[in-house]
Amino acid sequence: MTDQADQSRRNFLYVAAGGMGAVAAGAAVVPFLGSMLPAADTLAASKTEFEVSTVEAGQLVVIQWQGKPVFVVNRTQEYLAQVDGHDDMLKDANSEAIEAVSAAWMDTPEKRKYRSIKPEYLIVVASCTHLGCIPLFKPTKGRKDWGDSVPENWPGGWHCPCHGSLYDISARVINGSPAPHNLHLMPYKYLSDTKVLIG
């Protein structure tokens, strides 16, 4: 019986039937993998409002956006002055390396330097770009307050406790850190003078 069969036709049927089965199985994977993506209510929680006037001068507040920590710093004039004068220590002084460290409103050198819409309020994702730890806030200059956990010419900023990455007061990464990039920015805008919509 099998000897008389036209093998090429039979093989065509095998491949056609098997192919259809594979397509069906592939289609069935869509809902299963799809179900593992963020659910509708998780996506709905992807915007956060925050009143920046609640942050005192010189204070750092950590808030949550999409379950991720976010730094909101109220930078005093003193802190803002610490942004200048160490561009040679920075990996990416102008925040141009990747999209996540840049933003559409960074249209002037000033804004590239301060990395915020309003210079005093810096809002950045609080995850070290190395492996995701939350860096410690060490805003004052030099080693006076921080001992030898920071370099001698410390401009003030953040120090990551996990693997020693350093960022300046505009959250720009300092040379020699294991972290590849400046702390990421997230989309945000001012709804009023002091109310920010993050996300």
């Binding site: 093989n11 299963f32 593992m36 659910a39 509708a40």
Partner: protein
Amino acid sequence: MLDKMMKSKLFGWIDERTGAEAIIKSQLTEYEVPKNLNYMWNFGSLALLVLVLQIVTGIFLAMYYKPSAALTYGGYTIAFDSVERIMRDVNFGWLLRYMHAVGASAFFVVVYMHIGRGLYYGSFKGPRELLWIIGVVILLIMQGAAFFGYLLPWGQMSFWGATVITNLFGALPVIGEFIQQLLMGGFAVGDPTLNRFFSLHYLFPLLLAAIVGGHVHALHVVHSNNPTGLDVHEGKSTIPFHPYYTVKDAFGVGVFLTIYTYIVFFNPQMGGYFIEVDNYVPANNLQTPAHIAPVWYLTPWYTILRSFESKLLGVLMMGASLAILFVLPFLDRSKVRSARYRPVYKQMVFLFFITVVVLGYCGHSAPTPTLKLIGQLATTYYFAFFLLLPLVNKFEKTKPLPEEI
């Protein structure tokens, strides 16, 4: 196709290290199966398919389901809300849940057909006694898994169904209260019950998978029965499993999936038979629904329970109605297997199928005196069927058997 693949270098490499060729030959390409199997023999492979579907959908549902009876701000419970979240917010969550809920019913449809086929064609008789007994164990674990799973949505039917069943165990003398508290983890169905039922609902399918392996192994030792019930002689009246029955099983899978997906997409609640309407009301431990009944696949045994005035007797008889399946191979002494050649047994087994359907109907309906009487009659025949078997072959004149299939 398969033989071409088995000649490849890669396959040779694997074969040297696993003995894959010998396994494929002994289990597929040279595994001899009677050539006359009808479509009733498709339900075994379908049951395996549904088991896989249930495990896969269950694993994905467990990524979102939360077994907690703690109250939420909405006034419901975390478990109930998590199921509703699966239905509304999780991508394709509705599909996964309906596949799982319809799959539970489909599982029992397929398995009951499989069992019915075994009864009709005498597949439980020697040398397949142990194969049948392993199958009964699978049935009991399935019923357990279904019962545990039904509590998880934490609706009214979940709650009161679990209350009724755990109270059944309380009827047993001496150890009853102990078992009841062991199941509930407290003095009433509550948060601890929900947690352990979730754990057991995850455990039982793993047991099933293992025991199904044993069932298939036992089958491949004694080989398939066939519609004539005759012993077959290899080569003359058999064909290899692959490609003949792989193709036939694949066709059965196509038919099954057509019906299954139709129900999943267009009628997942099946008029309250697959998902009971009352179960969309959150569990309330202070109010029992007006009418509570188990899901359809457990209602025959529920009727047996209700048919006895004494609580203890009802529980024992319900247990006996399942336990008697274990001894079926030893009750039936007839040398002839298939009901085709057993005129008396044929009528008995058909009446038995009708009886189980009647028991199911009675268990699903609200109790009335008439239905109670019908249920009692059906219960009587349920047991009579088994107990008459040793007597039947004393007077039954079997039809002449053919020489060869």
